[in-house]
Symmetry: C2
Subunit: 201 residues, 2 copies
């Protein structure tokens, strides 16, 4: 059995990344990596489902024990990815999906050059603005801030291996599946297949 | 418009490569590169369709003018690929398919590191033997020779970027399409897309 892939997915807020991943995760061979955090659980959040909720001490211990694959601090809370769980799942043959922001993604790519990194783009910044506005709940100022952040994040897109434009959910999902299929057809993963083809001579 | 891809396809005889390519070539964005040769046209062969038939002098001139992307001599005849036509079609945005044997493929990969190389495998050497036998027209000796050559060629498979097992035509065609789709989603081809996403801000 081949080791599972490590798939890093980033996208600006409002790109429909969550909807794309929800479709992808219907295939049980994927494992969605649940982030660890030191922030307090919010109403309705379940430990191990939405986040792995840790104390500051526990999180810092995981960092110093080199167990966190990547981590960062935002607003006085840590967020990160447990590398040991990622490895465990990949060794079981699962393709592990990390849904992380650009800085975390850069760190994972540096540590794991084999990572399949995918950046999901909106069809245009104008469309992204429309989608953010459509939610109707945000202040003008918040929308402007999000757009500015989105443009900044899009600047990182060329550093990812693949770029998918989410113009329509079905297309984006097809693109995602094609990327994973192609990655599994790469010659470096074909050792076992070659052995079998030759063995059954 | 992005430049078209250069796709190199090899497979041992009897792997069904022709049938796979026939399906793929139904998409008009592909251009099938017709090999050049100095051998005499056989009954029913059309110049420019089955081969580009050249005189020995003309072929040697193309080689010395550095126009041949790759070439080799078999049984006192030259066979090769015109690089100028490949370039012309790629510049028109066509994805160019070179169906060539392993030595020619190695040469193209060396000259064009951007080439997408695909090796098509039979499900097993035993199955390949069965397929060769099924044709019913070959002598026992010819089958043994072809099998030996197939095993030798399969030894080159790990040097290709992608390996596709032709266990069933539909699967092999899907795999091929996924590889090409994924290659076009690579960040290095996304320059124009990124410009457009940002421009429509």
């Amino acid at each position: 059995m081949n080791k599972g892939l490590l798939i890093v997915v980033s996208a600006p807020s409002g790109c429909g990344k969550g909807t794309v991943l929800k479709e992808i995760l219907k295939d049980e061979n994927y494992y969605y990596s649940v982030s660890a955090t030191t922030r307090e659980p919010r109403e309705g959040e379940t430990d191990g489902v939405h986040y792995r909720f840790y104390s500051r001490e526990k999180f810092e211990k995981l960092v110093s024990d080199n167990i966190m694959l990547e981590h960062a601090e935002y607003c006085h809370n840590y967020y990160g990815t447990r590398g040991d769980i990622v490895e465990e799942m990949r060794n079981k043959g699962k393709d592990v999906i990390l849904e992380i922001e650009v800085q975390g993604a850069m760190n994972v790519m540096k540590k794991c050059p084999e990572a399949i990194s995918i950046f999901i783009l909106p069809p245009s910044v104008r469309e992204l603005e429309r989608r953010l506005r459509k939610r109707g709940t945000e202040e003008e100022e918040v929308i402007a801030e999000r757009l500015e952040k989105a443009i900044e994040e899009i600047g990182y897109a060329p550093r990812y291996k693949y770029i998918i434009v989410n113009d329509a959910l079905e297309n984006a999902v097809d693109d995602f599946k094609a990327v994973i299929k192609a990655e599994k057809l790469k010659a470096e993963y074909a050792g076992e297949i070659l052995d079998e083809v030759i063995k059954n001579a």
